[in-house]
């Protein structure tokens, strides 16, 4: 008995973690999946109802708006974060004085919650006393900046705040990547007459392919999950113009009491994330095994 215990101690120590994750992650996702096939309203019902909720979901205007917004947000969020992140990383890589201070400044938004920064951006972007007033007081009398309360433009204010929060993160990833390249490669290229621009464009950035891949995965996954920022900045408004899937899910579940429908939307989100993450984890693990 004691021998058995001793032999299996590592597995026994592992058991709580595996059990908790098995139950609270995989079990719960399966439960949500099951509920998405039922006609649950306020309380979950367990008779199967088929794929009706998915038809309802994809026939709902609000969900289509949410998906549309997600695509717009993800595309812009990705492009701006990666471009700004790369520019900052390359610039900081030029033996800059006070690099530490600048890096700290570029990255501090990551330490704050989206609720805190969303509150700040909401104040800055509000048309009566915010940026608009600042420019008018400076003499640009016809300056208007009312994106926050404009149905067509409100989604872009979320992009502004999101990029501001996360661009420094991409910078940190690329800076770590650039620093891990051996100096010899850059020196050799310079001896061959390549200028700095060519060194980065032709040699270093192509070497950063894994970092691009990582940034892509992380940013897409942040944007699919984005919830706090929208709550703090627009609550999905004006109207429903800035709804995104995560907000749709919680509203449908907890305000509209459509548990089955919200489970279906949660499963759609889960599948979107899985489609991005599983290939990523697979390739990471393969790279590790190859080492």
């Amino acid at each position: 008995m004691l021998k058995w215990l001793e032999k299996n101690l590592p597995k026994i120590v592992m058991a709580p973690a595996v059990g908790l994750i098995g139950w609270f992650v995989y079990g719960f996702v399966l439960w949500t999946l099951y509920i998405s096939f039922t006609n649950s309203k306020i309380l979950p019902k367990y008779e199967l109802w088929g794929v009706g909720q998915y038809f309802k979901l994809w026939g709902s205007r609000k969900w289509l708006i949410a998906v549309d917004n997600l695509l717009i947000f993800t595309a812009l969020f990705l492009i701006f974060c990666v471009v700004i992140g790369i520019i900052l990383a390359i610039f900081l890589d030029q033996k800059i004085r006070a690099e530490g201070v600048l890096r700290t400044i570029y990255l501090y938004p990551m330490a704050l919650s989206f609720i805190v920064t969303g509150t700040a951006w909401k104040w800055i972007l509000n048309p009566t006393l915010g940026i608009q007033k600042m420019f008018i007081d400076w003499g640009f009398e016809n300056f208007t900046f009312d994106w926050l309360v404009n149905r067509e433009m409100a989604i872009y204010t979320i992009v502004i705040a999101g990029v501001w929060q996360s661009a420094g993160f991409v910078m940190a990833l690329f800076l770590a990547g650039l620093r891990s390249v051996e100096d010899e490669i850059v020196k050799a290229a310079k001896i061959d007459g390549a200028n700095l621009f060519t060194v980065y464009w032709k040699i270093l950035l192509p070497m950063m392919r894994p970092v691009f891949f990582t940034s892509f995965v992380i940013l897409v996954h942040i944007s699919i999950k984005s919830y706090d920022l929208i709550v703090a900045l627009t609550q999905g408004g004006p109207g429903i113009s800035t709804t995104m899937p995560a907000l749709y899910m919680t509203q449908t579940a907890f305000h509209k009491s459509q548990v089955g429908l919200s489970a279906a939307s949660a499963i759609m989100m889960f599948m979107a994330v899985a489609a991005v993450i599983i290939p990523y984890l697979y390739s990471e693990l393969r790279r590790e095994n190859a080492r």
């Binding site: 973690a17 994750i21 609270f24 700290t104």
Partner: protein, 300 residues
């Protein structure tokens, strides 16, 4: 003839020196411009929180406050003292602490243990177990909100700090496991093997060999978990309301509560109060914060 070519070479050198200097200036100019862009919201928050509403209406976002007026801070922290309907952050701030400390402790401890087993007591299929845990880093929490709400109800701990501690501990395990596993994998296994031959057991090896060298990764993990849990809004707003809410939820309620007059100075002071603990940690231990951020990302 030779002279001429030499001077032109010198001219060329001078010219490239000037372009270089110009490029350097441009570089610093651009970097400072970006820094201003990143600082801008923080600056506006601080400045606004120190103004009176009158000053806010008269000046612009950037106007310097007339003095160090901490009244909005006092109101945000302790209220106005008129009883019912007076919302302020103090109790929620402590709620968050009561939630964060145990959740960080438990998730870090469990992560250290699993990371230790996965690297030093390897068994068949341990890679799959790791992957099984790792995937938990990425699941959109919307997919577990409904069953979690019911489970907390069944356990009788919905709308309580204990419930939130449980939630944050569980969903922190994938991250803490990742951190410790990636750290311990670089510790030579020979060390452990030698200790095993000497008769040291599972826990003795952990406490005598691995724990003493784990300080950096413990710091990284604790900072990561602290920041994540302190800043969480989704779980807090779904599983708690009223008096049991953590600070981010209280902040959001305070800002949204539509009294007749919007007090932006109090809003900004509240936002700063809610952000200050993580900001302090970031400034004091930025190196470890960044390490967590990049290793948490690069490897999952």
């Amino acid at each position: 003839m030779q002279d001429k070519s030499q001077t032109s070479y010198k001219q060329l050198e001078m010219k490239s020196k000037y372009t270089n200097m110009f490029l350097r200036w441009f570089l610093y100019f651009a970097l400072i411009l970006f820094a201003l862009y990143f600082i801008f919201p923080l600056y506006v928050m601080v400045v606004t929180s120190l103004k009176t509403m009158e000053e806010i209406r008269q000046g612009t976002l950037l106007t310097w406050p007339s003095g160090l007026n901490f009244e909005s801070w006092a109101v945000a922290w302790g209220g106005r003292g008129y009883g019912a309907g007076d919302t302020f952050l103090r109790p929620y701030f402590w709620n968050s602490f009561k939630m964060v400390v145990p959740a960080v402790f438990f998730s870090t401890f469990i992560g250290a243990m699993t990371g230790y087993v996965l690297t030093k007591w390897r068994f068949k299929g341990d890679q799959w177990v790791f992957l099984f845990l790792l995937f938990g880093c990425f699941i959109p929490f919307q997919a577990i909100l409904l069953p979690m709400a019911r489970t907390l109800g069944v356990l009788g701990i919905s709308n309580s700090i204990i419930g939130l501690v449980l939630v944050h501990t569980v969903y922190g395990i994938p991250f803490t496991t990742l951190f410790f596993r990636n750290y311990y994998i670089s510790v030579p296994t020979e060390l452990v093997k030698a200790a095993r031959i000497d008769g040291a057991g599972f826990f003795k090896i952990f406490f005598k060999i691995l724990l003493p060298i784990s300080a950096p990764i413990i710091v990284v993990t604790v900072i990561w978990q602290f920041t994540q849990i302190w800043n969480d809004f989704l779980f807090g707003s779904t599983f708690s309301f009223g008096k049991a809410a953590p600070i981010q939820v209280a902040l959001n309620n305070m800002v949204l509560s539509s009294t007749s007059v919007k007090e932006y100075n109090v809003d900004m002071a509240s936002a700063i109060i809610a952000g200050i603990p993580t900001l302090i940690v970031y400034v004091l231990a930025g190196k470890y914060f960044i390490r967590g951020l990049t290793s948490g990302a690069v490897k999952g």
